[in-house]
């Protein structure tokens, strides 16, 4: 066991602080559970695409619920900045604020609705309880508010700046009426808004109890100490990295509209416990929806730092403030109005790959080869011939995880910034007029290496008794995920159309409005991942496993591993 330096803090010792923070974490967790339990969107209920947090009066992140998502890490800070900028000094007990806009209110894409409620103690503003939830719809031209092919944020849905949803305890019904009129299935969405309101209230009640119990001064000191302690912990991890300049670059396949090979460039400078991320040289923002606002870039950077250096570190401002980030305005990673941003998660995945690539030499034992690097998205829509109702079925499909310093990359899994579950085949076929022909790993799709990359997934879906429409968004469909330290690239993904006779033809990476008749099908193939280390060093037992499991063909193994099978001959 390692012991800390003797504590010399004021009234809060490491025991009392731990117990106080346990209560604060519990407040965030309870708020999280309350939101999940009462929400209506599947996104929130089953996939847990939501987060809750406690912020201090100056908008610093103090504690997040355990199950909160990395992409939401920085977004709440963005909301607070906008909120305090607009309403600072005019915040009252019983107010509740709402926002979603990435360009003026700190959001990262429109379906993520942010809420914040101030907490007062003896008339003094002492904290905020905040949450973010991904609603199933926020209006715009296509159900689900996530489709590609649009070039302005206006087309993606309703934009909400930071506004009061409650004014001193009174619901601003006019505002809610406007919002609900602009979204699909408003009855359900109202349930989601109420769930977020209920989550704020529960969290605020618990925070008030904590302030009453400990007193404002002690809790404030606790906020400072925790940020400071986390910052120190992370700085120590950075100081352990060798000083130097680390560079890496990669490209996005395309924006689905007009631009291909969109570069992300990074130069990281580490000096002592300081780390600077310089993204200058990255491509300008694009017409399609893969743009990222600065908050999402910051979230991707912080996710990678935690994952690489200290996965159990608490998420608070101590982490967020750590990296210095330089990005040019108007580029892919700090897109400005009116850039569309719905598919920003694809780009965040690439930012993470680029950082991992840059820091591989600094932390080879923790580094990971490029994962499938995408949120491979497939959307089937049409009119159900059995009921006459229209339907939209959206799914994001996992792929390979990158090879690691001591083990293979996992096959067929969600990576990095996303971790949503799949929909069971038995749910898909009960709920939609669709049939899944097959669902499995793609042979030979993981890059060779001492530790190989994970396999991509293949799923074939056909419409039953009607003609439907397919839209898709693929990344790393042109440029495969790279390997590290001699490891080979994984196989890129692709969408294919299968006609009635079984003939396959490749579709664009981000296909729009593909008509599918009964007996035709779509084949979705997500990317594999890159391998780690020289394939020549892969152990015989591991190669044997690759062969016996049937995950790799004899031709692949013979082609990539010259020593494969040598002992047998």
């Amino acid at each position: 066991m390692s012991f800390p330096e003797r504590a010399n803090a004021g009234t809060l010792d490491p025991v009392r602080l731990e117990i106080m923070f346990n209560a604060l974490r519990s407040a965030a967790d309870e708020s999280f559970i309350a939101l999940m339990k009462s929400a209506y969107s599947t996104n929130i209920k089953e996939r847990r695409d939501h987060s809750t947090a406690v912020m201090d009066p100056s908008g610093r992140l103090i504690v997040q619920a355990d199950a909160s998502l990395p992409i939401h890490l920085a977004s709440m800070g963005g909301l607070m900045e906008a909120l305090l900028g607009k309403f600072g000094g005019d915040i009252h007990e019983g107010d509740m604020f709402i926002a979603n806009d990435p360009h003026v209110a700190g959001g990262t894409h429109l379906p993520d609705i942010n809420m914040a409620m101030p907490v007062f103690h003896d008339g003094e503003l002492v904290a905020f309880i905040c949450n973010i939830a991904h609603h199933a719809d926020i209006g715009g031209s296509v159900p689900g508010s996530m489709a590609g092919g649009m070039t302005e944020i206006y087309q993606e849905g309703l934009r909400v700046p930071v506004v009061r949803l409650f004014r001193q305890g009174e619901l601003q019904q006019d505002l809610l009426d406007i919002v609900l009129l602009n979204v699909r299935v408003p009855v359900e969405r109202r349930g989601d808004y109420y769930a977020q309101i209920a989550a704020c209230r529960l969290g605020a009640t618990r925070l008030s109890e904590i302030f009453s119990h400990y007193g404002v001064a002690a809790v404030r000191e606790g906020f400072e100490q925790v940020i400071e302690r986390t910052s120190k912990r992370m700085r120590a991890a950075i100081a352990d990295l060798p000083d130097g300049i680390y560079r890496f670059e990669d490209v996005m396949d395309d924006d689905g509209v007009e631009t291909s090979d969109i570069a992300i460039k990074l130069e990281i400078t580490i000096s002592g416990d300081d780390i600077h991320f310089d993204f200058r040289g990255t491509a300008p923002q694009v017409a399609g929806n893969i743009n990222v606002t600065l908050n999402a870039t910051q979230a991707a950077v912080c996710y990678t730092l935690i994952a690489l250096l200290d996965p159990d570190a608490p998420n608070n401002q101590g982490v967020l403030d750590l990296p210095r980030i330089t990005v040019e305005k108007g580029t892919l990673l700090d897109a400005v109005f009116p850039a569309p941003v719905a598919a920003r998660a694809n780009t965040c995945q690439r930012i993470i790959d680029v950082i991992l690539g840059a820091l591989a030499d600094a932390r080879p034992e923790a580094a990971v080869a490029a994962a499938n690097g995408a949120n491979t998205t497939a959307v089937f829509s049409g009119v159900d011939p059995r009921t006459g109702d229209s339907y939209v079925y959206l799914e994001t499909i996992g792929g390979g995880f990158g090879g690691r310093s001591a083990k293979d990359g996992k096959d067929g899994v969600q990576v990095h910034i996303t971790n949503t579950s799949n929909l069971p085949v038995e749910s898909i076929e009960q709920e939609y007029p669709l049939m899944v022909r097959s669902y499995g790993f793609i042979e030979d799709s993981g890059g060779a290496g001492r530790f190989r990359g994970g396999l991509g997934l293949e799923r074939i879906v056909e419409p039953v008794g009607h003609t439907c429409t397919f839209n898709g968004a693929g990344e790393r469909f042109t440029h495969g995920p790279w390997g590290l330290f001699g490891g080979c690239s994984g196989k890129p993904g692709e969408f294919r159309h299968i006609d009635g006779g079984g003939t396959q033809s490749r579709l664009p990476n981000k296909p729009n409005g593909v008509k599918l008749r009964p007996s035709e099908a779509i084949m979705i193939r997500s990317p594999g991942a890159g391998g780690y280390g020289d394939p020549g060093e892969r152990e015989a037992a591991d190669l044997e496993g690759d062969a016996v499991s049937g995950k790799f063909s004899d031709e692949f193994l013979a082609g990539h591993y010259p020593h494969h099978g040598r002992d047998e001959k």
């Binding site: 731990e18 994952a307 969600q414």
Partner: protein, 692 residues
């Protein structure tokens, strides 16, 4: 005199609980466990118990057994070699799972590798669609070849997992027949038999776990049954299932996965029994042992059922008593995190080497060490002194933590306990919010070896004002076993609109399920008056992706408690939705996805035990020692021997109550009463500290 015996196998001890059928007299016995074959401790313990307590083995009428054999086989990956047969195109489904990672920020953590490797997952040509139609007929010639491959693989068990087998099980049944014909020694698990419910990954996972456990559990149960038959020829062996009821050995051999949470479930049922004795319908249970604490909420004397659990990292979709586990136990170790904050657990010193004070080589400070250093545990040791505790070793282990904090040794020990209490409090708060309940409306029932040591602090932090310590808190699980019913559940899964046009179909399926339940009653020899039926519908608004159970209970004497038409079902659903989520929507259509019939057979009941002795006086202490509570100084605290307490006695804290299987800490000002069933009921003095 005739006896029922409950046997609960723990990591360190095997607990026996014997109750006389006629007058409810209770006897306890403990025997060291034999982890290599837990059955040995059961057989030798039973023999010794009969000798020690003067019980004639021929007068034992039932042996009820809660087993951890399945759980341990899963955790230690000691199950059989399993093959899997599945629908063509889907052999990777088991490995893909839900395509999620277990830890959001870890680049290294993966979900566990599937228990059937890819080369033993075989595809057969067949396909059933969502309506249950065989859109691709089973290709028997191809299947015969697959069965040969299963044989060549050397597997000892085979899981048969077809898509939509929950709607139409014909293909699975046919494959099962072919397997049994061709390979008679092979254990076979069909997904439509293990759990006839939709969501293929969870059903397949549950089925594969079942197949994995079959070889191990069949050997174990055969051994146990034959040895007990020799020893106590009149005692049928009943096995406890995770859902809170007993089953026959044959059922347990076919469905061993049903015992995956057998032990903790028995504790919850024992707690319900105690709650009834004390007359408290709303109880939070805290079952704290050496490595973890199990928390459950009892409402209306019902611990509730959950079907959404993971066991050893794999999803198991079977009804299980709704218990949450937190890594807080007597062996939980105190450590400093990288940011300098003190943490306790989830790492545990376990039973071996155990906390430093066990003197078996452990050097890290554990929760038990802190209790000993504060005088809360007796320096005279555990189990009435049979297990010695080393106070010096405990203090030596805590000293470096105290130094690092700049604290006195006792203040550091108090800090360790404060943190372990905070961890349990957080777990209780989480499950309370999940179920929309306020713990302040509940009594806290603490059991397990370590529960009664920490109950007073947990109750204070949560603002609860009553604590219940059962008569035998260390062996409540064994007690729960003998007050349980036989239980079986029959399920049909699909999408059934809850409308009057479609209700006839629901009624038809209900009839089928009830008929199956009746023939189960016949097979298990449950007499007519002891037959109980409940109906549960897992329902949702159309378009939702999650279900809520609506339950119609307690059809007595085999009567079917069927709701009166679709209107009654939807009304009940709106109510449940309102209760769980705070809103409902009468205009939305409701659909049922699972129709369940739960059959329980009441076994012969014990007479209620009321000890003859009674007193309304103050209890008498047997000694005193210095104990640290929450202050800076020790308090000279009277020590009571629980065996000397009789019904009606009272005492006021500070006090320590010691008994063979646990130690109860009574905080200053708290008022303890011994109730007529010999449970301790403690009124918490202070209303302060509703927050940590």
């Amino acid at each position: 005199m005739n006896w029922f015996v409950g046997v609960d196998v723990g990591g360190t001890f095997t607990d026996f609980f014997a109750a006389s059928v006629a007058d409810g007299t209770l006897r306890y016995f403990k025997h060291p466990s034999t982890p290599h074959n837990p059955g040995e401790a059961i057989v030798s313990g039973l023999t010794e118990m009969c000798a020690a307590l003067g019980i004639d083995p021929a007068e034992i009428l039932r042996v009820c057994h809660g087993t951890t054999v399945a759980t341990n086989a899963l955790i230690q990956r000691r199950g059989g070699s399993v093959a899997m047969i599945t629908t063509a195109g889907f052999r990777d489904l088991l490995e893909i799972g839900r395509q999620t990672r277990p830890h959001m920020f870890s680049l290294q953590a993966d979900q566990p590798a599937p228990l059937v490797p890819r080369e033993r997952r075989f595809e057969v040509i067949e396909r059933i669609d969502a309506q249950g139609e065989a859109v691709v007929a089973l290709d028997e010639e191809h299947a015969a070849g697959v069965i040969e491959a299963v044989e060549e693989s050397g597997a000892g068990a085979c899981a048969v997992c077809g898509l939509f087998a929950f709607v139409n099980d014909a293909h699975e049944r046919r494959i099962g027949e072919m397997l049994r014909d061709r390979l008679p020694g092979l254990h076979v698990s069909l997904s439509s038999e293990v759990r006839r419910e939709f969501r293929e990954f969870e059903r397949f996972s549950t089925t594969v776990l079942n197949a994995y456990l079959q070889p191990v559990m069949c050997d174990y149960l055969d051994f146990l049954q034959s040895r007990i038959a020799e020893l106590a020829p009149r005692a049928p062996v009943r096995i406890y299932q995770s859902s809170g009821g007993l089953m026959s050995v044959d059922t347990a051999k076919a469905f061993p996965i049903r015992t995956a949470l057998s032990g903790p479930a028995a504790g919850a049922v024992g707690a319900v029994h105690t709650a009834r004795q004390v007359g408290r319908p709303k109880v939070v249970t805290l079952d704290m042992g050496g490595t973890s604490a199990d928390v459950a909420l009892i409402r209306d004397y019902d611990a509730g059922i959950s079907t959404d659990r993971d066991v050893a990292g794999f999803p198991v979709r079977l009804p299980m008593v709704d218990i949450n586990t937190v890594g807080a136990g007597g062996g939980s170790i105190a450590w400093f995190d990288k940011d300098g904050l003190l943490k306790v657990g989830p790492a545990s010193a376990g039973a071996d080497p155990g906390p430093a004070c066990y003197g078996k080589g452990g050097s890290d400070a554990a929760v038990t060490d802190a209790n000993l250093a504060l005088g809360r545990l007796s320096p005279g040791g555990l189990i009435g002194g049979r297990m010695e505790l080393d106070t010096v070793a405990a203090r030596t282990a805590i000293a470096p933590i105290a130094d690092a904090l700049g604290f006195s040794l006792e203040k550091a020990a108090q800090g360790i306990l404060g943190i372990v209490v905070a961890n349990m409090v957080r777990a209780i708060r989480a499950i309370s919010v999940e179920r929309g309940l306020d713990p302040r409306d509940y009594a806290l029932m603490a059991f397990g070896g370590a529960g009664p040591l920490h109950a007073a602090e947990v109750a204070r932090v949560l603002g609860m004002n009553e604590i219940i310590i059962p008569v035998a808190p260390g062996i409540l699980c064994a007690q729960g076993l003998i007050v349980s019913d036989l239980r079986e559940e029959f399920v049909r899964s699909g999408r059934f609109p809850a409308t009057s046009e479609h209700y006839a179909e629901i009624e038809r399926l209900l009839e089928e399920l009830v008929a199956a339940a009746q023939s189960w009653f016949d097979n298990e020899d449950v007499a007519e008056p002891d037959r109980r039926l409940s109906i549960a519908f897992d329902a949702r608004y159309v378009g939702q992706n999650f279900e809520l159970p609506i339950i119609f209970t307690d059809g007595e004497r085999g009567k079917v408690p069927a709701p009166d038409g679709a209107g009654a079902v939807t009304a009940a659903f709106h109510d449940v939705h309102e209760r769980f989520y705070g809103f409902h929507s009468v205009q939305e259509p409701v659909e049922i996805v699972n129709i369940r019939v739960i059959a329980s057979g009441r076994l012969a009941r014990l007479a209620d035990c009321v000890e003859g002795k009674a007193s309304d006086g103050e209890a008498t202490a047997t000694g005193s020692r210095a104990v640290w509570f929450d202050g800076d100084h020790p308090v000279d605290t009277p020590i009571y021997d629980r065996d000397t307490l009789v019904a009606g006695m009272t005492l006021t804290g500070p006090a320590i109550v010691e008994q063979l299987d646990t130690t109860t800490v009574v905080f200053p000002g708290d008022r303890l009463t011994v109730d007529p069933s010999m449970n301790l009921v403690i009124a918490v003095a202070s209303k302060e500290g509703q927050v940590q």
